[in-house]
């Protein structure tokens, strides 16, 4: 039985950050990873936002962080079955470091590199170990973990002890569920991300997307991308690969007759997407859940001797611009700081560790989650924004641009008729008000807050 100052379960962005910070402060910390290497089980779209990384490892670029490309251009496409309406943004300001802090990454590479930093700092990384359960002493305080060793190791099982455990074991955190800290997620509160990584020569990517050097593209697709289901499609350029995939609410998949893999194939074959993927060779197919519950689904984050970080705590910024890995890093860092303070005071009780929640509340993590707390509800109440409006918009644009010798009055009458049939004034107005409230924009103020508070506590 080994004794540590702290045990971290899961070597993703949250766990590795926690282990890094604790190891730098001189603690003996175990970083346990069930994959054969950090990142073996991890997957995201994905863009990594690097502010937290930069604050912890200012020279991350020089230290060879496996960043694929910086995001030089962002785009949003609204798809119907055969058409695309798109918006894109690019600015020279993002061409200079820190590149607006956005880089495409491949998590199997990134997580492995990042865990290496924690190891260099002194954390003891052990891969291939599954954590079966938490150990508790007489009064229920967590005091370690029971592990299953790698398949051929002997002994097959073991126990590690520490006065505090940080659970950063991901969205499915079976340990947090078993500990009663959170319920099993409901299909409306998680989305399934599926993704293919495709090989394409570097020059082809740069020619095709109009990129120079390390420039990259991050593109979001809504509407037909998901066959109208709540969620979105994505396409990211990496160095010599493309990341293409979908994120779809699990509830909508459960209601669907189209299997996820088939949905992805349809997206890849869409006339707006297929030319961008031409001749790209599939290298890997992966899937991962994304917490979408937002602020109101964040579970209790601490109990005696135990803290929750990253996806295990549902700390993903469910919003029109979803982010997660940077939230995970921030929560890992703050969990570590709470542990350091608790250690200083010699008190790892839930009351002492509740400092973690306070630190998160002061940070962008809970501030942004709180700010967008009504986004999940907006998505739930407004499926038409994903289902029928994208095709309505492309139909309107098509009608507006069509050359068919109509007189202006006829054209306007047709547009108005299309709009009334496929969108409608009242649905547009009510959805717009809900969106305004969910995003807290356009003069959202004290009265709105009061109304929201009353509605929530009715």
């Amino acid at each position: 039985m080994e004794r540590f100052d702290a045990i971290v379960v899961g070597a993703g962005p949250a766990g590795t950050t926690a282990a890094l910070v604790l190891a730098r402060s001189g603690l003996r910390v175990a970083l346990l990873e069930r994959g054969a290497y950090p990142g073996a089980k991890n997957l995201m779209g994905g863009v990594l936002y690097t502010e937290v990384l930069a604050s912890l490892v200012p020279d991350f670029r020089e230290r060879g962080a496996p960043l694929e490309r910086y995001v030089a251009r962002r785009g949003l496409s609204i798809l119907s079955a055969g058409a695309e309406t798109a918006l894109s943004f690019q600015t020279g300001a993002w061409d200079a470091p820190p590149h607006n802090h956005g880089y495409t990454v491949l998590r199997a590479r990134f997580d492995r590199w990042y865990a290496g930093l924690a190891e260099e700092a002194g954390a003891e990384l052990v891969c291939g170990v599954g954590v079966d359960r938490l150990l508790a002493d007489g009064d229920g305080t967590t005091c370690g973990v029971a592990v299953r060793m790698p398949a051929d190791a002997s002994p097959a099982e073991g126990e590690l002890r520490a006065p505090v455990v940080i659970l950063a074991d991901g969205v499915n955190s079976v340990l947090a569920e078993a500990a009663g800290l959170r319920p099993k997620p409901r299909p409306g509160h998680v989305a399934l991300g599926i993704k293919e990584t495709l090989a394409l020569p570097r020059e082809t990517i740069e020619d095709r997307f109009g990129l120079a050097g390390d420039q990259g593209v991050a593109w979001t697709y809504v509407g037909e991308a998901t066959g109208g289901r709540r969620g979105a499609g994505f396409l990211y350029t990496n160095r010599d690969t493309l990341s293409v995939g979908l994120v779809v609410y699990a509830a909508d998949l459960a209601d669907s007759d189209v299997a996820p893999a088939e949905l992805l194939d349809r997206f890849k074959e869409h006339p707006a997407v297929a030319p961008r993927l031409r001749d790209a060779e599939p290298l890997e197919y992966g899937a991962h859940l994304v917490p979408e519950g937002g602020y109101d689904r964040v579970p209790p984050l601490a109990r005696d001797g135990l803290l929750l970080a990253g996806d295990a705590a549902g700390l993903v910024g469910a919003s029109p611009r979803p982010q997660g890995s940077n939230y995970a890093m921030a929560s890992g860092e703050l969990a570590a700081r709470a542990v350091l303070e608790a250690r200083e005071a010699g008190d790892f009780s839930a009351a002492a560790l509740s400092r973690y929640r306070d630190l998160l509340a002061e940070s962008f993590v809970l501030k942004q989650l709180e700010h967008h707390r009504d986004w999940p509800g907006f998505v739930e109440r407004n499926p038409h924004v994903f289902a029928s409006w994208p095709a309505a918009l492309t139909a309107l644009v098509e009608a507006a641009l069509r050359q068919d010798g109509r007189e202006p009055q006829q054209r306007e009458a047709e547009l108005w008729d299309l709009f009334q049939r496929r969108v409608g004034v009242l649905p547009l107005a009510t959805t717009a008000v809900q969106l305004r409230n969910a995003l807290r924009i356009l003069g959202y103020g004290k009265t709105d807050r009061l109304v929201e508070y009353l509605a929530r506590n009715w």
């Binding site: 997957l43 491949l106 590479r109 291939g128 398949a151 459960a254 290298l283 859940l289």
Partner: protein
Amino acid sequence: MTVDEKLTRNAFKPDEESHISLDEAVCRSRCTERYCVRVCPAALYAWSEEGDRMVVEHAGCLECGTCLVACSHGALAWRYPRGGRGVQYRYG
């Protein structure tokens, strides 16, 4: 491209023991929705008419957990493949 073709590109280190177990009685008699069949991105679940039971092929599992979330009958028991086994993302 079929799901199987997609999966053959992946690196797997199979665990001989299945990490997914089903409560066959529940799948047979209580469940009518079969959400697991619909949601699994690796299409591992299939209802076998001749066997009159739900069949799951654990070897291609991407370990996403969507089946667990989707199963409204609690018929699924799941633990991750043993350490170091299962899917090995090389890109992620």
